[in-house]
């Protein structure tokens, strides 16, 4: 990527990057709209290049996730709408995204939305709490769920099924 080689501006670019960050804090994930793209940990870099382009590096969660293209378009539209163009949105494949990058705020929002947040990868397997009643008496129904990033579980205490964000 030739754009990586361009030096970043050293003087007073902060405000544009900071503004971009605050705009992205309100761009929702299309599949789980309680989470912003920042909560999800997929925005890896925001920088202003020497030629004035704002470069945003986004890491896909799953390689086949159909939301990836929508996310790029939503990010571009939001930043353009805030007058932050010209933009360049690039894929950041390495290092690969991990559910560990979901913010603490993101984990709280997931729980409130009824989705059990992922544990930390290094701490797996850990007890899974029902996001509805808080019981640890839960079981996995399926390794996979309604989107590539979720699995299906069930609470034996309150009898409700729930999604859990996969831990990868």
């Amino acid at each position: 990527m030739s754009d990586r080689a361009l030096p970043t501006m050293r003087h007073a670019p902060e405000s544009r990057v900071v503004r971009a960050r605050s705009v992205l804090a309100s761009v929702p994930d299309p599949e789980i709209p309680v989470l912003s793209v920042l909560d999800l940990g997929i925005v890896r870099e925001i920088e202003e290049l020497a030629d004035g382009t704002l470069r945003i590096a986004i890491s896909p969660t799953y390689t086949g996730c159909p939301a990836t293209a929508t996310i790029r378009a939503d990010v571009a539209a939001a930043l353009q709408g805030a007058g932050l163009a010209p933009l360049r949105i690039v894929d950041a494949l390495s290092p690969p995204w991990t559910s560990d990058w979901i913010s603490e705020q993101g984990r709280r929002k997931l729980r409130e939305f009824g989705i059990a947040p992922p544990g930390k990868v290094a701490a797996e397997p850990a007890p899974i709490l029902c996001p509805l009643c808080g019981s640890t008496d839960t079981e996995r129904i399926s390794e996979f769920g309604s989107t590539p990033c979720k699995a299906l579980h069930r609470c034996r205490a309150c009898r409700e099924p729930f999604d859990r964000f996969k831990c990868i």
């Binding site: 799953y62 390689t63 086949g64 390495s94 690969p96 399926s142 390794e143 590539p148």
Partner: protein
Amino acid sequence: MNAAPTDAVRGAAPGPLFEYLLRIGDTGLVLAQRLGEWVGHAPAIEEDLGLANTALDLLGQARMLLSYAAEIEGRSRTEDDLAFLREESEYRNATLAEMPNGDFGDTIARQFLLDAYQVPLYERLAGSRDTRLAAIAAKALKESRYHLRYSSGWLVRLGDGTEESHARAQAALERLWPYTGELFDADETDRQALADGIAPDPAELHADWSARVDVVLTEATLARPPESRYRWYGKRGRHSEHFGHLLAELQFLQRSHPGARW
């Protein structure tokens, strides 16, 4: 990169990296197509979701690999041109991936044998000298490990399940086992990719695959089938009789409505 690809067939561009990307990319693409055939037909909604999600991951991986292959080729083809508009002999997938779905036991056995291959493959490709392939592999590895957990779990449940499920799982393994030889049988492309630091040594890969497979087969109370001397070579463009039918469905829309887009 200047060695002549002696096993390349009509239509392929020279170069071991291009050939190698097609091999692993096409294996994912074709397996995803097979798994997609289960949508709406799996034994339970959870397995419908499981097989479809696995297919989606494999398709995502294939897109990255085929996009890269198209760039390397430098003939202005795209990932879609490669996926939808090649002739049968130009696909380089492992023959195992194109085997028909059969019953759920056949599908799980095929999936397990290929997942147990992709995990050690991507572990090694993550250290490839080709940094783009290494990045794709590191990403794909996380997904493949998840797939292997799923297919191993099912193979154990079927093998160590009822008399009927055990018999069907054993029969599926025996039907599919002869197609695993191709995965590790090094030819000129494999040797050149190894020499260039692009890809791992197939013999080393075989030892790793074999050890992983044995652990799960033991837990599943299934017997490891004997090795077959016969070889299929989907990876050189010589496919089984099932492949044309698969392509007819995969390519129908793009052939009938050239350039159609969502």
